[in-house]
């Protein structure tokens, strides 16, 4: 679509079969996109087509089905490479999700390069998936974790970060966009500062990959991780981008088939990239179905989708702020299409139950970011998050349902 075309949200909705269903007798309003996005028909069909027509194990078989499956699998890798603008296809490692990608980096890199007294810097905004793997490797290696503070709106304190950096810093692992608040971090600056101190950088792109243009070469990050299911693709597939030289210097994460070159009982030589990090039979069907998800975003145009989502976010923010006692958390200019809020005197769980009865799916709770919630002094928030197929009419339905729920609860 070109910029002067109008955004045809109805034709986009038609590509998502699930949007036709009803919940509790009402048309589904799906505002839990930051947890997982719905899938276009092409993604669903790709999975079914693979199992119906060319299911085979990849990279080894010498038959037609294996050739076709291998070609489709590697075509997905090429699509991801171009999606994040990586220089080499072997810099794209398939994992089962963001969490596994981070664990892979923490272990395969940390086991080789971390020493006692070394420092890993993360931020207050992190999802548990970008806290716990680092805590585990830090404990094993005697390394120290330091936390970049934020202000009341969820903005990182870059000055404090600068003061934390030293020659002890070995890794700076920060989230690109906060899952709980939507706030976008200045990762370009963070990566540069890390490099100036000889540290590496890992960007958690779980929330950003679907909304922002990702160019790992321009960012110059050492690692970038994200999940397939949040970018309209299947669950069970994730991506680790890593700089080639770095990946080559790391230990394998798991041992098994596919990742080896030669095995004797005395010694094993490891396969080359990317297979060194893809032990065992991978999630072939879902990796293959990731390509149509990327194709979907490319066809509509990420910038075009972003524009639509920004309009939804600003409309929703304006309407939500009119509700008495409602406070937006992370009310900053630079954010992805997430509105996270609290309402005075109302528990998020009560709200979620009543909204569900009105066909509306939102996320409530601590969003797997308990340190952030405790910093903000709240038990949790209600989070609405938008995708390419959401509409202003759905926001009107949400606001009406919120008002009704508040009335019932007060």
């Amino acid at each position: 679509m070109s910029a002067n075309q109008t955004y045809d949200v109805q034709s986009i909705r038609n590509e998502f079969p699930i949007l036709e269903r009803k919940v509790k007798g009402k048309p589904l309003v799906y505002f839990d996109n930051a947890a997982t996005a719905q899938k276009p028909k092409q993604v669903i069909d790709a999975i079914s087509h693979y199992y119906s027509h060319y299911n085979a194990n990849i990279h080894r078989g010498l038959h037609t089905l294996a050739d076709e499956a291998t070609a489709a699998f590697e075509a997905s890798r090429a699509a991801v490479q171009s999606f994040v603008h990586a220089k080499h296809h072997e810099e794209i490692i398939f994992t089962k999700g963001t969490t596994e990608s981070i664990n892979l980096v923490a272990n395969a890199w940390g086991n080789v390069f971390l020493n006692a007294g070394d420092e890993i810097i993360i931020s207050t905004l992190e999802h548990h998936a970008n806290i716990v793997p680092w805590q585990m490797i830090a404990e094993k290696k005697g390394a120290v974790i330091r936390i970049i503070p934020i202000d009341a709106n969820g903005k990182l304190d870059i000055e404090a970060f600068k003061k934390m950096l030293s020659n002890k810093t070995k890794m700076v692992a920060v989230v690109h966009a906060s899952n709980a608040l939507g706030v976008i971090n200045p990762v370009e600056e963070i990566i540069q500062l890390a490099h100036q101190h000889g540290a590496l950088s890992m960007i958690d792109g779980a929330q950003s990959a679907v909304h922002l243009d990702i160019d790992v070469t321009q960012l110059d990050c050492d690692f970038f991780v994200f999940s397939g299911h949040k970018i309209y693709g299947p669950t069970g597939v994730g991506v680790l981008y890593g700089k080639k030289q770095l990946l080559e210097s790391m230990q394998p994460y798991q041992g098994g088939g596919e990742m080896i070159k030669e095995v004797t009982f005395e010694k094993t030589t490891f396969n080359e990239l990317p297979f060194k990090f893809e032990a065992g039979t991978p999630n072939i069907a879902d990796v293959i179905a990731l390509k149509p998800a990327i194709d979907f975003m490319n066809r509509i145009g990420k910038a075009f989708i972003r524009q639509h989502e920004a309009a939804l976010l600003s409309y929703a923010t304006e309407k939500l702020k009119m509700i008495e006692g409602l406070h937006i958390k992370g009310d900053v200019a630079e954010k992805v299409s997430v509105a996270s809020f609290t309402i005075d005197g109302i528990h998020p769980q009560d709200l979620a139950i009543l909204l569900d009865n009105q066909g509306i799916a939102v996320r409530t709770g601590h969003h797997c970011a308990q340190p952030l919630m405790s910093y903000l002094g709240i038990v949790g928030t209600t989070r609405v998050s938008f995708a390419a197929y959401n509409t202003k009419e759905e926001i009107d339905i949400l606001v009406e349902a919120l008002n009704k729920s508040i009335k019932m609860l007060k």
């Binding site: 528990h347 769980q349 009560d350 139950i353 569900d356 009865n357 709770g365 949790g380």
Partner: protein
């Protein structure tokens, strides 16, 4: 005061009450109202010790024994959940430990609460029931020991 009705009789009464609601709004307004009317739990019991894990909200259940019967009180920071706490207290409080342990609690399904509350939340309800039955079990064992000694 007459004889305290059995758990089964109380469950039937609740099922009958809920059958009068035509809409989900009426049902939840009733639960919310029950939550609001439940007397707040003494702060001394609003501690980690009495907190039930596995709920998105905080839930506390406290129990005590009197004349061979187990009594419960409880609280939650979410009003619908507090309504559910109130409902469970109404059903289970004031009965002999064995009766509490044996209660099938079919009313939860019958009034459509397990289907109306998603899995993660109804886990909270299940955790609540499990805790109340565990407490009853503790009093049962205590009473058996006393009997043995006597």
């Amino acid at each position: 005061m007459g004889e305290h009705p059995t758990i089964g009789a109380i469950e039937n009464e609740i099922i009958e009450n809920f059958s009068m609601f035509d809409t989900w709004e009426e049902k939840y307004e009733y639960i919310i109202d029950m939550g609001k009317k439940l007397p707040p739990l003494n702060d001394a019991f609003k501690t980690e010790e009495y907190k039930i894990k596995g709920c998105q909200s905080s839930v506390w259940i406290h129990s005590y024994e009197k004349d061979g019967k187990v009594f419960f009180d409880g609280d939650s920071d979410a009003v619908i959940v507090k309504g559910l706490v109130s409902l469970m207290i109404q059903v289970l409080s004031g009965h002999a430990p064995q009766e509490i342990i044996d209660a099938p609690l079919g009313f939860v399904d019958a009034v459509g609460l397990s289907s109306h509350l998603a899995q993660t939340r109804s886990n909270g309800l299940r955790a609540m029931i499990k805790q109340m039955k565990l407490d009853a079990g503790v009093y049962l064992i205590k009473s058996q020991r006393t009997t043995d000694k006597g």
